[in-house]
Symmetry: C2
Subunit: 152 residues, 2 copies
DNA sequence: CCAAATAGTAGGTGTGAACCCACTATAGGG
DNA sequence: CCCTATAGTGGGTTCACACCTACTATTTGG
């Protein structure tokens, strides 16, 4: 009867599985940091979208982040209550709500970004700088494919 | 007001985030395939552990897979009902239950492995063979670190 | 000017995952 | 022989996430 530990090699031979394990670790650690501030990953994603592209109508946020509009409403609401984003009703089309970053939101995002980089340093510690760059590039390629498939 | 789509670059610049996105995609696709057979990832993990290391006492499975013993019981129960594993009460220590693969279970695992490789080919399509090998190695290193940290 | 489409929102559903506790059966040490 | 530890198990909790539906307010096209 086996008592030794260690994950099954036949699973670790599958990049799919390895990717899902490391992804889970990355997600989990990042989520933990965010949870300390009462936030979830989507809060950070929304802040990042606003920082990168400026104010969005909620519908646009939903499209960009591939998140359900009703879930966007909830996330935005929480961010607004906390003072990290502003919501202003569009005067021309009163159905629309423009969401924009507040200075507090921008500052928060900077902190979250720093946290994420700390998680990253910790997670990718066994990799050289060159390897990290390579990994980043490969993941980008893979992500681009996933994303285009999802969109198309 | 922004209307274009595409994820925020500031997120895609974080390997942590990319890893979590690609990991989610990998996990999701694999889980979908498994779901078609009424299985979840843990079922596959248990089958793989048994195939790689032979029969386990449930406690040992729990340790190896870092899964709660009570959850192991549930997964093993489902596999046993489906005829993929055998459970036999240890004669020497009647508290223990030895779990082993049945031929059906071994066959199932082979199919699941093939599915996983198909998912992998699809997911890693944008990468060359050399890159896939590199990715695999890097992920292994990262995983090894995660695993040792969790264990220690 | 009305019908249809659209933006936002409230509320609810189902699922996987990660835990936790209590309980039974059994074993083993003092 | 009893006390404690251990294996397995059933049951329940909490959480994030992905969805879906119904409804209001508003705009727009015919």
């Amino acid at each position: 009867m086996v008592t030794s530990d260690g994950a099954p090699p036949s699973l670790l031979g599958l990049s799919t599985y390895l990717l899902s394990l490391t992804g889970k670790a990355a997600r989990g650690r990042l989520a933990d940091r965010l949870a300390e501030r009462g936030l979830r990953l989507w809060h950070m994603a929304v802040l990042a979208a606003l920082a990168d592209f400026g104010p969005h109508v909620q519908r646009a946020l939903a499209n960009r982040l591939s998140l359900d509009p009703s879930d966007v409403a909830k996330v935005v609401d929480e961010l607004a209550v906390a003072g990290h984003v502003d919501r202003v009703r569009d005067a021309a089309d009163r159905r629309r709500v423009a969401v924009s970053l507040t200075p507090a939101g921008r500052a928060l995002l900077a902190e979250l970004d720093a946290e994420a980089r700390r998680v990253q340093d910790e997670l990718l510690a066994p990799l050289s700088q060159a390897e990290r760059t390579e990994l980043q590039e490969m993941l980008r390629k893979v992500y681009a494919r996933i994303h285009s498939q999802t969109a198309g």
